[in-house]
Amino acid sequence: MTTVALGLVKEVAVAARAPRFLYLHWPFGHALGEPGNVVQQRTVLHDMLSMAVSAPRPGLVIDLPYRWRREKYLSVVDWEMPSQAVASALSLPKQSSERSIAA
């Protein structure tokens, strides 16, 4: 079975030596974000699913770049593409929306 874990303490995430770990610099009790912020919660879940599909090797801990309340979260465009955070951490192709903006 494939596993993906979220973590709020970086050193613990590293020491746990879990197969796939996403680290968030967020307060305890808020692993998925803020109450009622569905887009934010779905963003984190998209990162977890992307990690399940794309993590290339065991023991990888990815720092998710979200700055708590100062971040603007966008709806996920394509769930089959890796999330932007995971894609850029792993240097994978990005979401099509971002590509078109870049072009």
């Binding site: 079975m1 613990v12 020491a15 307060p27 305890f28 009790g29 109450p35 569905v38 879940l45």
Partner: protein, 219 residues
Amino acid sequence: MRAAVGRKGNHERERNNQVRSLYKLLGSWITLSSTGGEIISEHGGPVRTRAGRLNELWARWFTGSRVGAAVGHWASRIISLPQLRRLATGEIPWTPLRKPISDCTVVLLTTGGVHLRTDRPFNLNGDSTFRVIPKNAQPEDLAISHQAYDRTDALRDINLVFPIERLRELEAEHVIGRLAEDNYGFGLMGSAKKLMPSIKEVARRISESGVDLALLVPA
């Protein structure tokens, strides 16, 4: 040579003792005066098991302030790092996904102290057991029994520590194949070793129920 090894062993024992007594001290402070077991209803959402007043203050401080968060992180490191270094050795297990996410059965695990409100609450001072949470559980069916984080926000939106509504949506949208019938909640537990029997039992149940992907969410 042997003397050097002996010294190293002593040093390690001493350090372990220090960590243990520090943990005890922290434990007695953090978990002071719990009234335990009691459940208070709140606004039709999940309910919470009452913790001692001091515990609630501690939890709020850990969660809501910069200094508190730093202390919380420090405590979390002090308590779990030596244990993890002892237990998490050897090769890291690796199972690649063999099918698209949209065909996968996904199970949700949380260490946020979430359980059905009809179930026995977790012991707030440490509990190595687990609770089964069925996939159709609604927020008002759930309770949180945990005192090491501020539960105010998680009680307003259970998805912060147990994103079951979000995963039901993803199932309905065919993003994931399906959400597992049984999902799992754990409470606060300082000793990783004592947790192992529960972890093994949950792992056995999950792998027997044909789950492809497990998502782990902390408090």
